[in-house]
């Protein structure tokens, strides 16, 4: 006997993700979800970003780390609330899921005043985190020059789901046969509305443009929240 089920499996917990987004909008809190390969500079970028913006805004971080508290400890030094989620204890070390972060978001939104911006540092992996909406307003893909220009072709979903690509380690471009235009072209073919900022976190290049982008997105969320 054939049982025609046609049943969708909600493996991404989409309901929880929309609930998280609603809460964020209600509080006028911008939430950015960083995805990247391991070692492209997510934690360094967060250090620079928290340091530059913490006097002006209330910031918070949800840190997804498969095993350790190394990154969380680095960020805590900046005196910003950091919630660490060790993903290897939650059944899948490859990404954060909405079910895992909802409690963290709730706790952060209870702070007085609630954060203006919550940064989520996802697990370093260009495959799985791309498939999960955490309720964030934007996925930001941090790409670094030594990874090679073939990444949009190899990981189209990550580029498709992101709104901004930060191209880091531009100071290494001369040593890596890096072709910026070809990277942009391939990335745009999977996501025509993608934005790009080139940077070198180490040298401080491109950071101001990145901070302006964050402020622009925060203004959009606040405008939406006041409606």
């Amino acid at each position: 006997m054939d049982l025609e089920l046609s049943r969708k499996v909600d493996f991404r917990h989409e309901e929880i993700a929309s609930r998280i987004k609603e809460k964020l909008y209600k509080n006028g809190t911008l939430c950015l979800n960083f995805i990247s390969s391991p070692g492209s500079g997510k934690t360094s970028l967060l250090e620079r970003t928290l340091d530059a913006l913490k006097e002006t805004y209330n910031l918070a971080v949800i840190e997804g780390d498969p095993e350790t508290d190394r990154d969380a400890r680095r960020l805590e030094k900046l005196h910003v609330p950091v919630i660490l989620i060790n993903t290897s204890g939650t059944g899948a070390s490859c990404h954060l899921s909405p079910a895992e972060i909802e409690q963290a978001v709730d706790d952060l939104l209870l702070e007085t005043p609630p954060p203006d911006i919550i940064f989520i540092e996802n697990v370093g992996n260009l495959v799985c985190p791309a498939a999960y909406d955490l309720g964030e307003h934007h996925k930001v893909l941090l790409f670094s020059v030594p990874e090679g220009c073939d990444k949009p072709a190899k990981y189209p979903v990550a580029f498709r789901e992101s709104d901004l690509v930060l191209i880091n380690k531009m100071d290494l471009a001369p040593y890596c046969d890096f072709d910026l235009e070809s990277l942009k072209k391939d990335a745009l073919s999977v996501n025509p509305s993608l934005e790009f900022i080139t940077m070198s976190i180490k040298k401080g290049d491109g950071l101001l443009e990145w901070f302006s982008w964050i402020e622009k997105k925060l203004a959009e969320v606040r405008k939406q929240a006041s409606k």
């Binding site: 049943r7 493996f11 899948a92 072709a153 189209p156 025509p192």
Partner: protein, 124 residues
Amino acid sequence: MFLYNEIVHELGIARNVLEIIIGEADQRGGRAKSVLLRVGQISGIVPESLEFLIKCLSEGTPAEGLEVKIDIVKPVMVCKSCGEKFTVEELSFYCPKCGGGDCETIEGKDLVIETITLEGDNGS
């Protein structure tokens, strides 16, 4: 400590799928012999891993020996500018009709349990 079940996210999904299959079969007083799944090409699920894990997990359950068939679903999009509905064949998400880039994915991201074939008391 290094546990196999921490490596891939397909494990949780496989468990979820198997629970549904066993539950549905049980409700009808039958035993699941095979299942047809539809896996979206941009779902973030590796079909081979999913199939392998469902089979592994089914051992020792009423669904032991379950045959897993998987259909891959290509992404289907609708252009927000001209309304054209198209299947993404190559690595390009632009509308083939008007060239517009503002297109919405309507298929290809999901996992669907399409058909379960039962045998047993009330099945045949």
